[in-house]
Amino acid sequence: MKSNSCPHNRRFWATAFLPAFVLTAFTIAHSQAVNVSTRNYNNQRTGANISETTLSTSNVNSSQFGKLFQNQVDDQVYAGLLYAAGLSIGGATRNVLYVATVNNTVYAFDADAAGAPLWQRNFNGTGRPTRNTEVGSACGAYRDFSGNIGIIGTPVIDESTSIMYFVTRTVEGSSTVQRLRAIDTRTGADRMSPVVISAPSFSSSLNNQRPGLALSNNTVYIGWSSFCDTGSYHGFLMAYDASTLQQVGAFNVTPGGTRAGIWMAGAAPAFDGNGNLYASTGNGDWNGSANFGETLLKLAPRTLNLLDWFTPSNWMSLNNGDLDLGSAGPIFLPGTNLAVIGGKGGGKGYLIDSNSLGHLVSGDTQIRQVFQAVELTNRTGVTYHIHNTMATWNSPQGLNLYVWGENDFLRAFRFNTSTQKLNEPAFAEGAILPPPGMPGGMMTISANGSASGTGVLWATTPRAGDANQAVVPGALYAFNAQGSGATLPLIWSSSGVGDDIYNFSKGSPPVVVNGKVYVASLSNIVSVYGLRTTPPPSQNLALNKTASGSTPCNANEGPAKAFNGSYSGGNTDKWCSLDAGTKFLQVDLGSNFSVNQIVVEHAGAGGESFDLNTQAFNLQVSADGVSFSQVASVSNNIQSITTHNIAPTVARFVRLNVTTPAQTGDAAARIYELQVYGQPASSVITYETESLTVAATSGDLHRVALDTGYSGGQGTILEANAAGDFVTYTVNVPEARTYDIRVRVKKWNNRGVWQFSSNGVNQGSPVDGFSSTPTFPEIDIGNLTFSTAGNKSFRFMITGKNASSAGFWIALDYIRLIPQ
């Protein structure tokens, strides 16, 4: 690492007089189109969208506000949600919500209506995501994640180029590969070839890309921590040119030691007006010259040369241990040069002049202020960490800073313009005290500038249990951010029927934009809230449908309770059964649906002990109520809410079989909710060929093809070279009925002539793939009747080639089944 004995180098002078940077940087433009292109809305990480003109304290209440709809994704969401307003996508102008999952999938959804993704793209390629059982051995059974570990850090969008940047993590053979990707926000297609992350001493297996990515000065900044401090890893920050994806800087936090990860509970680095980067580190080696554990770092743009640093001296706190400074990311107070960070040490917050971070001084007397951000009197013997970031808003009364640490209430501090410090203690508190444990509140603010009555502080927390090393049910709360006297009144919570946020995502705070609130979960679901006059029709196909099941424990704990839409009605708001052996719970959806997701809320979701969560169970579906097929089987569940994404299957009946009811040997099955999601069985189904199972090929290379002309930017190519070459896909046909089969292809100058067949029977005429220029027509194969639903083989076989064609390749985009 380059030594830097001056806190500012010459770059400071080159950029110090950029015009009015602070004003533009701290203010989201007041216009209709508000975008969310980065974590916490802006590079100062204020956590506030101050251009929200729809939601306010007068309409966010249980009679006017609630869940509008939810969208399914393929896995858990740790990354923050992003949003682009008024984007031209798929031939229409839409507001678009972006979701990245731990299965390395990125989705673009219509942000205003339920429905299939506008595009989705998986980046596993030939690999797969890391699994939680493969990392974090220093924690024994590592449960900070509970399954796949793919995309974790929040992506970042360059609005000027419509490029989204993010890091995927895949296991490929025996090695782990992390890649920086740059895709088009309108199609999901690559805009540049991905680059493999590397740097001296960087470990793609030990390093965890936890913090959000950042974009500043046409540079993408990426940070890394670890998994449970396992192995000899180093905290890292790297800089990549946004136009070329060339690495332009890399900063190892502990080149002469180990650890000091950049965690920040998923927050992204903050930037001052000169483009200098601020990030805080966790526990690790420290010597004040090269190794910087427990430190707020200030690094130069692009080069990431160290400019300045602050290390708190409170290691000898009166509290016991546990002092990560890097548990929360830094933020800037709007209109000032003051940065604020919180950490894990005794609930302290630090207000620091970014022009002079002050290094390490006993008693921390060199910095502007050390303040008691978290009160310790409510619970003792617990932790008082601050996770994610604080949030700040210029209220009508003055500049407020909001903190919601562990085992404490939400607190609002007022910035005193005379003393240039925060007044202590907090001037107002929220009244919700979350369950004992981590991580406090994940906050965001919506407001219309500084207008009175518009400031709403939104926060997610666990609603039961401790999210440390666990997946727990969550809740969304809304507070009046302006406050009323000494309180921040609670104006709404997600405890109403149908308003569930499901499993709390500890990495992804709510996002509020253009009148809607978006909440990610660890339940493969993203929930969308907004104003409504009456609750919209539920997407839960099982709601209030005919239920049956094993004998209830009590008359008021019958099967219907699992289908009433409510988890919050107390101990009797569940189906309970003490029958011997396997206990079953069943619902009749009334007619056939193409079912693709089942959510089970176990004892813990209803407020009971997590020890009573179902341990072993399976799920079955049936079209006739007689013949059932198993679609999911779980043998070692500990979670309170489980989500089961299944291949779309036509079913009218869904059955849950409980084989081991609890963790403890308790004999009663307890289910608060069994929710079923899917589509009307007769809707059009599109199978992206790159997502289909390949049953067989002639032995020629079959691979993914990238072109923005393909939907999602991807298709498949069979590199056929002779007549008779073929590829066969397995397609799960949802219903026994007649479909019109459509195939979209990419025609070009080296394509062959192919024939489509299903289960050995040719359908339609041979299709000539040749075209002198690339085109993407949708070919109508014609009607095909299936006598049964289920897996069918769809084969594409070369029969010859056009005389003008240079080859025999087959290039496919998707297969579409249109019910007739």
Binding site: G284, N314, W315, I367, T380
Partner: protein, 303 residues
């Protein structure tokens, strides 16, 4: 994020280099304007006896030495469940100051169960207004209270001024088991009405209720209390642990009840994260207000 901590090695000899840096930069031709000089308060000088307790210091059986600097006028001494407001300055035995609330200008609130065991022991012998110097051996500083690794244990010397005792609510005398007069519900929850309320309105599971509550383990440790901090908390009834959920549904505004909650209706028997109590619990709960009830579960239209 992992909680287990491997703490960085402390560097007691770290020079305070800021002013030297300014001088260096100015000397090298860069304007010192680039840096706003920090107004740095000097550390509080260590007392002459920082390294060793003087002969008039009293040493307890555990090894904490104490010397009275100033006598206070209070009568009460902090107990295990109390919190305290205090000023303090801590030095290493070589005189290097580690931390001080006096430089911050604001007194610090800490709770007796959270501070170093050696400091807690000293505080328990003090009355409000007392000022003492204490010499705490390293083994009575950081404890391994959970899975976290702890910082290095070094001997410290500390000046403490006890400003106020933030009293815990009285510990119930009957923590071990409910008295015979207590009522029991089918679930195993037992309760006694301590203060009568008014009216007949009771909360729903979806209600927001304002509560003052205090919770003890059966060995008398107060693990949570809104009473001590003086600020009641609002809960969604459905988000309370099952024992309190059931219990609060039966209460009217103004009523105060004591609940004996079996572990199965609380956090279970298995030890969880630090601070999450295990085993049977006792709660005193006062229902101050039913702030709102969200609409009760009703059927919603299907699509």
């Amino acid at each position: 994020m992992r909680n287990a901590k491997i703490f960085r090695a402390f560097a007691p000899g770290l020079p305070i280099v800021l002013f030297a840096v300014i001088a260096y930069c100015a000397g090298s031709g860069m304007s010192a304007q680039a840096i706003q000089p920090v107004t740095q308060q000097p550390a509080i000088a260590a007392p002459p006896d920082v390294s060793t307790p003087p002969s008039d210091a009293r040493t307890t059986a555990s090894g904490v030495a104490m010397k009275v600097l100033k006598h206070g006028r209070g009568a009460e001494r902090p107990k295990d469940n109390d919190c305290v407001k205090m000023h303090f300055t801590v030095w290493q035995r070589d005189g290097a100051m580690l931390a001080s609330s006096r430089l911050r200008g604001t007194a610090e609130v800490q709770c007796m169960r959270t501070v170093f065991p050696g400091v807690s022991e000293a505080l328990k012998t003090m009355v409000v207004g007392d000022e003492r110097r204490i010499w705490v051996p390293g083994r009575l500083t950081f404890t391994s209270a959970d899975e976290d690794d702890t910082p290095p244990k070094v001997d410290i010397t500390m000046d403490i001024e006890l400003l106020a005792i933030i009293k815990a609510p009285l510990t119930p005398p009957d923590l071990k088991a409910p008295p015979k007069t207590a009522l029991k519900t089918d679930s195993g929850l037992a309760f006694r009405i301590l203060e009568k309320g008014a009216g007949t309105r009771r909360p729903y599971p979806t209600s927001q209720v304002k509560l003052h509550l205090s919770g003890w383990t059966t060995d008398g440790a107060l693990f949570e209390s809104t009473v001590r901090g003086g600020k009641p908390a609002v809960y969604i009834v459905a988000h309370l642990i099952p024992g309190l959920h059931e219990g609060v549904l039966g209460m009217v505004v103004g009523e105060k009840r004591r609940f004996w909650i079996p572990a199965t209706l609380a956090y279970g028997e298995k030890r969880g994260r630090r601070g999450v109590p295990t085993g049977n619990l006792v709660y005193d709960v006062k229902l101050l207000a039913i702030e709102s009830a969200l609409p009760l579960p009703k059927s919603r239209p299907n699509n």
